[in-house]
Symmetry: C2
Subunit: 300 residues, 2 copies
């Protein structure tokens, strides 16, 4: 498998998810924590202006600015489009990046716990997720196959990426428990990358359970307002089965709406604050099993 030479850790891609920027600060104070013998690691504040203003973004969501077309466009860019170009220069360029692996740190108001966001099903990604889950068993894997398209996410700048989402935590807030959990996940990812370079034989499970992106589920709306809230029996129940007929929403007038899908799904990002703007209540996933390839499998 190809060697990893340069790793980038990005925090504050969304400016009000402050755990990432403060982890960068931690590692500026304690750089030995992220040093590994076989590669160099760079710290990178994703959206400095949004972090300073404690907002998700200034003009548009930075984590949707990394499609190739967007990166090529230069006509009066938004703050985030300009910032995406800088990041493309610093850790890209997309398609032939100087960096081999990027870890992008996020938080969520949903009860996502320690969520690894995988967009690739390559050997490295699957083994990475299996390794971290072995070290931190409460980790859950959210699998969003990017397919053949041109994904707009920061992670797509570099051939190997890991998104880390931790929660629940309000926007603009630091909590030691979430800070520590995120720190452990990132350090574990660095350990894996070093083991990968070293060719160390790892004792990984044969299979990995993933929550595969299935459908975005919106709030019912009425006169520009949400007409309902997450039902109290569903609040905080990320990764748990939602059966056809289960309560889904509690309407403002007290009445109830049930899930009308035909199959069991597993909601994640339930009641994520940043998704209200898109009237998105949760993301429905299916629970699937991926084979964990051996270390000698071809690296995708």
């Amino acid at each position: 498998m190809s060697h990893i030479k340069n790793v980038a850790i990005v925090g504050g891609t969304h400016g009000n998810e402050v755990t990432g920027p403060y982890l960068l600060r931690r590692w500026q104070l304690r750089p030995e924590e992220i040093k590994r013998p076989s590669f160099s690691t760079r710290l990178c504040l994703g959206n400095p202006k949004a972090f300073k203003e404690n907002r998700r973004f200034v003009d548009e969501d930075l984590n949707r600015c990394f499609a190739g077309d967007s990166l090529q466009s230069r006509d009066s860019p938004s703050y985030e489009a300009a910032r995406a170009s800088v990041l493309n220069y610093e850790i890209g360029p997309k398609g032939s990046s100087k960096y081999d692996f990027v870890i992008d740190i996020h938080t969520s108001t949903s009860n996502c716990g320690a969520m690894l966001v995988l967009t690739g099903d390559d050997v490295f990604s699957i083994r990475l997720a299996a390794y971290i889950q072995g070290k931190i068993p409460e980790t859950r894997i959210h699998y969003i196959p990017s397919g053949d398209g041109d994904p707009p996410f920061l992670g797509s700048l570099v051939s190997r990426s890991l998104g880390v989402e931790t929660g629940p935590i309000p926007q603009g807030v630091l909590r030691y428990d979430i800070f520590e959990l995120t720190r452990r996940v990132v350090l574990s990812a660095l350990d894996f990358a070093h083991n990968h370079n070293s060719g160390l034989q790892l004792d990984l499970p044969k299979e990995l359970t993933v929550f595969k992106m299935h459908q975005r589920l919106k709030y019912p709306m009425e006169e520009g307002y949400l007409a309902a809230m997450i039902h109290e029996s569903l609040q905080g129940r990320d990764y748990e089965p939602l059966n056809p007929g289960d309560p889904l929403f509690r309407c403002l007038d007290g009445s109830l709406l049930s899930y009308e899908g035909a199959r069991i799904v597993y909601p994640v990002f339930i009641n994520e604050a940043a998704y209200y703007r898109e009237q998105l209540a949760m993301v429905l996933t299916t629970k699937e099993t991926l084979s964990v390839p051996g270390a000698d499998a071809a690296d995708a």
Copy 2:
């Protein structure tokens, strides 16, 4: 005691505390819930523009714009100063208001539960708090004596006011449990106002425990960053005793800072997101006991 004729319920004084605005929406759909025979009730969205933009405020904190001097000033007002003038017209004017009682709904990212914010120690306020706590025992009273000054808070527009803070809940998020808790507190306040008008004999306790504002406690700072987070043993422990020598902050490098005050205090608003801007970590209170006056006591 003087009769209450007009009650105003204000939600969204802070635009990203969305429980209030959605309670207003609820009561537009179900107006019978807030009807009481002895007074009329008006619903009032505090900061419509900030609510629409899901921000605490647009230019400045609306809940600091109600000092008499500010209300007199007319020179190129901020959005919130202009909005304060409108509210002063609609439910004021301050000092001789058309309204007799205002309930101002807020939420917090701290574990404040159901907090009643009292700024007056008049007969009505103390009996109101005792009544609500009797109906909703988890209620806690945060007592901020306004003294002889000219308070800048919305509640100061009207002679009798109640601030309601519920949490923990992230900014920009609706949760059914917090929505319901807040709804119950407000309806209970309306019940009390009606009982007050009716001269009904109420079975109130003789004493009320309050958490009296003592001191604002700031984060240690370093190079423009917080140097520490709330210590994990203190997170979520609002209203519980903090003893001299107890852990207070966990520094970014992992070290610990202890509380160095001379007396036992009771922190509230621990890790409130809106206070980061002022580098405020929590508010320290002292636990005190107020006598609950009888219904026949003079109304202040």
